[in-house]
Symmetry: C2
Subunit: 163 residues, 2 copies
DNA sequence: AAATACTTGACCAAATTACTAGGTTATAAG
DNA sequence: CTTATAACCTAGTAATTTGGTCAAGTATTT
């Protein structure tokens, strides 16, 4: 079972994309600032997300990434699968050859668990996350922090020009 | 989220214990042979299981481990918790300080997932696993292999004595 | 006393993760 | 047409985790 920062980052970044979809293509450096994920790492993750056709890219200035389809058709399980190979809880990868080519004692338990997790995460779309109150409030906080930082940056630049 | 071979081994070993409870204390070397888990590794796992009062040990010849309470009062979630710290899916360990001391965008999603997994694994007792047909059949296979190996070993020893 | 079996802790190799560095394209804006 | 921007690509690497080994105990029964 793999669910580490990698999968979490991917879902967070995709959610950020969904939340700001109205701004046109979103650059990774924007996501990097808002979600505090290293830019180079994001690039690697988005390479996989693009290969799995979850996002499409626009190159050049003003470019970035956008969701490849509506947010209600992208599910958390797909995102994790894209960057993380699988959310399979068995050791044998579901093959059933865990002990001398035959199934091990707990094989079916882990199959059941995998099924359970997969069903849960397959039922959650980006759209449903965007609609959540708690997500909205965190997102508003982040946007506020972002524009505040931009403001400060602008002020610093003005001061420099005056000198 | 940590669910690796470690947790799987622990559950498998505990299930082996439950399956052979009628034989009295079970030595780790028995479990090691049947489940193909390294003895030294089992020792580490059982040290933690004992600290969490899931098993009790009997020392000396004929000793081994037994479940510290009936199999219907031991749940998979407890076993994994014992060896694996937690089955928490959040990055912050549930603290909610994932981003600059505040919650990150996907915090609540991972909380929900943790809850989901925990509920599922908390509902599965060792007794319910023992009762499963598929588990029984794997266990019978393992016991057959074990006694076959013992037979062969005995034969080899007899041959040696005749020489 | 000898054999058996649990206990502890140090140690280690391989894999994985999370991240950095340093490029090269493609393209829109100036 | 130049330049800045941002995607894209390829390596490398530090830290962590995993899954284990080894050695030296301690306790208990026969």
């Amino acid at each position: 079972m793999r669910l580490t920062t990698k999968g979490r980052y991917a879902v967070t970044a995709m959610l950020d994309l969904a939340l700001h979809a109205d701004r046109g293509p979103i650059s990774l450096s924007d996501i990097s600032k808002r979600q505090e994920i290293s830019l180079s790492y994001l690039e690697q993750l988005f390479s996989k997300l693009r290969q799995n056709e979850l996002v499409s890219s626009v190159r050049g200035p003003g470019g970035g990434y956008r969701l490849s389809r509506p947010a209600d058709q992208i599910f958390v399980a797909q995102i994790i699968d894209a960057v993380n190979e699988s959310i399979d809880a068995t050791n044998c990868g579901g093959a059933g050859n865990c002990q001398k080519g035959q199934v091990c004692l707990t094989h079916y338990l882990w199959c059941d668990l995998s099924e359970q997790i997969h069903q849960f995460l397959s039922g959650i779309s980006l759209a449903s996350l965007v609609a959540r109150k708690d997500v909205k409030s965190v997102s508003e906080r982040q946007d506020a922090e972002e524009s505040q930082e931009n403001e400060e940056k602008k002020n610093r630049e003005q001061k420099l020009q005056l000198m």
